[in-house]
Symmetry: C2
Subunit: 351 residues, 2 copies
Amino acid sequence: MTIKPDYIRPIDFKHGRVDMNHGAGGRAGAQLIEELFARAFDNPALRQGDDGAALDMPAGHRLVMAIDGHVISPLEFPGGDIGCLAVHGTVNDVAMMGATPLYLAASFILEEGFALADLKRIVESMAAAARDAGVPIVTGDTKVVEQGKGDGVFIATTGVGALPMGRRIGGAQARPGDVVLVSGTIGDHGVAVLSQRESLEFETQIVSDTAALHGLVAALLAAVPEGAVHTLRDPTRGGLATTLNEIARQCGAGMLLHEADIPVQPQVEAACELLGLDPLYIANEGKLIAIVAPAHAEAALAALRAHPLGRAAARIGVVQDDAHRFVQMATRFGGRRVVDWLSGEPLPRIC
Amino acid sequence: MTIKPDYIRPIDFKHGRVDMNHGAGGRAGAQLIEELFARAFDNPALRQGDDGAALDMPAGHRLVMAIDGHVISPLEFPGGDIGCLAVHGTVNDVAMMGATPLYLAASFILEEGFALADLKRIVESMAAAARDAGVPIVTGDTKVVEQGKGDGVFIATTGVGALPMGRRIGGAQARPGDVVLVSGTIGDHGVAVLSQRESLEFETQIVSDTAALHGLVAALLAAVPEGAVHTLRDPTRGGLATTLNEIARQCGAGMLLHEADIPVQPQVEAACELLGLDPLYIANEGKLIAIVAPAHAEAALAALRAHPLGRAAARIGVVQDDAHRFVQMATRFGGRRVVDWLSGEPLPRIC
């Protein structure tokens, strides 16, 4: 089944560029969808060719839904690109609710003049990430904006998943006494992107940690009784510090972290020093925070460490009573300071 | 519950502008979400403040999922704006699968420098549209790109809905003998946007038909036996002609339309003549095509006409055997021509 009459040539994915026709809703757009997106993402729902997808959901579950826009610059960076990132980020948001991610939807906003070779590489990376995660892209949309009104490609992805009835995992569920775990080293993604952007070279290349974490979440949840994990959250934009502040705000308690226990790769620490940045505020794309009832913290930590994506997991602090909901940190030098939200000095377009 | 310490001032929605801080994942972004998006869209799922939403789904249904990116220019046009359009477009895509739209997710890509007053107006229009449709925006995301890398605001919306088990409505379900209905006049949206863009003035102002069609779909489906409606589709980008070609491709049959039966408002017809456009290719945002078993076509048409959004509904043609899957039209002058896909002359950024 093809839309190409004889006089339409195949798309030139070597030298071709996105043009306004690709977004006009006519034949050129249909051809781009057929020869690129539908081919790369191929699955039964997408193959139907309707404007939406009809999907099976397991009985006895609630639905979880999460959306993320991706505008990262540069589009490709050490360890990943906007395509796989758009899959990982959204799969992770669904997984952090305690749900099993099932399906993705993707919206592409393309800039006129963007090289089709670059688009193809990104779409194929996205397709591979979805395949690896076992979460198909079942429906999509493409739009084109004029040159200078976009920036290559933006991708918004929505994920849906199935949440077992009665499971409640969220920021509001954390409570004083809970233990705060992190699944590995922090700051890798942000520093990888920044070093690419600033053309910095380090002795060891720093690569993004971008990864789908639903397998890690499943291993964690299987290792402890239902209800033992109170909060899961991936510390993306704003980093560990901002994410913990968000959770503190949601649950109405404070936190006390131990600086010495927070895992940071030495080369990331060195790069941060050079750049005048604090790894606590740097985005991660393959790490999670788990806030767990104290009785099950050891089992939870062991489960994280037993998984390939959680080998460097650590216990980094506790939730504590605090009407001010401050996130505090016992420093390496024996002092104590408040770890505030990210405020100034933004790191734009990190995801 | 507020994130504002005393030294943070409320956002200035009169004179303020989007800046890169609003997208950095820190306090400024959280404040914008709290004071604008969360306030306008307020509902229990969003209030949880997690990175996703946990939602109830009716038992005995399949899940329908649809996504749309919205990049319309100008952002406001006669009869609507990008905010309400982003709700209507996605609600309609879900409804066209025969599903009841339940929840929306929204991703905003903001351009640095965009006036917060404009953003607020758009977000409030979006909130009103979601409220009127009874489909809440349960989760969202905002990103900011540098000036010159975006165009004010882009909005990607995903809708999910519940599809009764066993219902199959889609392009592939149309079959020879079926009757093709359209729910009203065509071309209104595209001509309204173009006339705004080109600062054209007509005697009568042409306004977009942007509307949520799930109520109309429900009325139609209630009026005929289950299985009588084979295909529903909203003829947006590319217009009626392109949408019918898509369906012809999906179902492997042709169509024969009767030009005289296709409803077009006189002022839209006049504007199209002036602009050298064919209303068949102009986008609609509040119309649907229904392809119905012939025995139930009259009842279906009556149900459409009885609804406020379907008063000008008409029977415009039939599906017919055709190995070439051509959409043909019997013209007003007694001739017959092939109605092809939109190919050249794009109308960019119409939705």
